[in-house]
């Protein structure tokens, strides 16, 4: 694939990717806030005041997410929205990584693989505290 074609694909698809995931995340966040306002306003206020006291650790971990979704917790929707938002950069780097593999530009395959690994290491570092 010529360099100009690679550049065109990056410039055309990166904004589409960024905008799509950003809109999806914003829809989830707005929906989560509306659900919280409708079904659990007291819980929201309680969590807000707990946050003000700095009581956070372990309360909203990824690991507890499936249980909270099953329990119909509107906050789980907010957590998913925030998680989708943080996927924006991950998805963008993954897209570049795949494009560079297709083009056999191994220097940039290595560079984007490093960034992807860094993002994944971030999750692991956070998970162990």
């Amino acid at each position: 694939m010529p360099k100009q074609e690679e550049d065109r694909i990056l410039r055309e698809w990166t904004p589409i990717l960024l905008r799509s995931i950003l809109i999806a995340a914003m829809i989830l966040l707005v929906a989560g806030l509306v659900m919280t306002y409708t079904f659990a306003p007291d819980y929201f206020v309680q969590r807000y005041h707990e946050a003000r006291q700095g009581h956070l650790i372990g309360r909203e971990r990824f690991a507890t997410l499936p249980d909270r979704i099953r329990a119909g917790n509107p906050h789980a929707v907010l957590t998913i929205g925030l998680f989708v938002l943080t996927l924006v950069p991950l998805a963008r780097v993954a897209f570049c990584f795949i494009l560079f593999i297709r083009e056999r530009d191994y220097t940039y395959v290595a560079l984007t693989a490093y960034v992807l690994a860094g993002l994944i290491v971030g999750v692991l570092v956070g998970s162990v505290g």
Partner: protein, 275 residues
């Protein structure tokens, strides 16, 4: 709940708006706004800010990438440095005492104020160094008449070293470190200022994203704060970027510097007085 939401939206829309028109990003303003006005602990403010910074970076990057201002290859090279710094910084944010974070934040505000005052014109190079040429980092940027001007890039390792520091500050303090990133690209690597700003904005998503993932995975993000803040900062930043072409930003520069100095003084005072 409605009152809390209105307060958080007002703070975050204001922070996103000022961040966009000053070019410094929403994180620089939302962290102190949450600490000073909403009385949030520093770590809660940092977690919420990191996530909102990811959103504003993605929103602002759409036009910059499409219109060709962002140097995607420079971003991909330097993101290796910022991600490394951001993951280390976000990890350290969980163990470093708040007083140190407040002092660092004050220092970063002073650096942003210095950058705002000393912003300079382009110093375009026609010859790059061997590493930059091997990585094909050069690019073209339209001048005032729209004619493409070719620019080359130099000193990638030195720029990368400053990017590790920018990432570290981002992960520790919840800001995009845009002022530091633009300085590295403009002053050290000699990219044109507008390319540096657009590329910095693009990179901020990955830098803040790395920090945000550490905070989210650790359970250090308060969804009740982060969700409205992310929506508000994004709305404020989008409004700011729409208004930006119609206002004379140079007249506002003094106002931005005064705000930054006030934030630096407030955060420094908090650290030293133990509030």
């Amino acid at each position: 709940m409605l009152e809390i939401l209105i307060n958080l939206f007002a703070l975050s829309i204001g922070a996103g708006f000022i961040g966009a028109i000053s070019g410094l990003g929403g994180g620089v303003f939302i962290v102190p706004a949450l600490i000073i006005f909403a009385h949030m602990p520093m770590k809660v403010a940092v977690g919420a800010s990191l996530i909102s910074v990811v959103a504003t970076s993605a929103g602002a990057s759409v036009a910059f990438v499409r219109d060709g201002w962002t140097n995607l290859k420079v971003a991909m090279v330097l993101e290796c440095a910022t991600v490394t710094g951001a993951v280390i910084g976000a990890y350290l944010a969980g163990v470093v005492p708040t007083v140190v974070l407040e002092l660092l934040f004050a220092a970063m505000m002073l650096q942003s104020a210095y950058f705002t005052v000393t912003k300079r014109g382009d110093d375009i190079l026609t010859r790059g160094d061997p590493l930059a040429e091997r990585l094909e980092l050069s690019g073209d940027v339209p001048d005032l008449s729209g004619t493409p001007v070719h620019y080359e890039v130099v000193k990638v390792p030195q720029g990368g070293a400053l990017m590790v520091v920018a990432g570290l500050m981002s992960g520790l303090l919840g800001i995009g470190s845009g002022a530091l990133k633009v300085m590295a690209m403009d002053y050290i690597m000699h990219l044109p200022l507008k390319v540096s700003s657009a590329t910095s904005n693009f990179m901020i998503g990955v830098t803040a994203g790395a920090g945000a993932l550490v905070f989210l995975a650790r359970g250090d993000v308060a969804t009740t704060i982060a969700a409205p803040v992310a929506i508000g900062v994004t709305a404020g930043a989008l409004t700011g970027s729409r208004v930006l072409p119609h206002i004379r930003v140079e007249y506002l520069r003094t106002v931005f510097v005064i705000i930054l100095l006030l934030i630096a003084a407030e955060m420094g005072w908090r650290a030293l007085s133990g509030i």
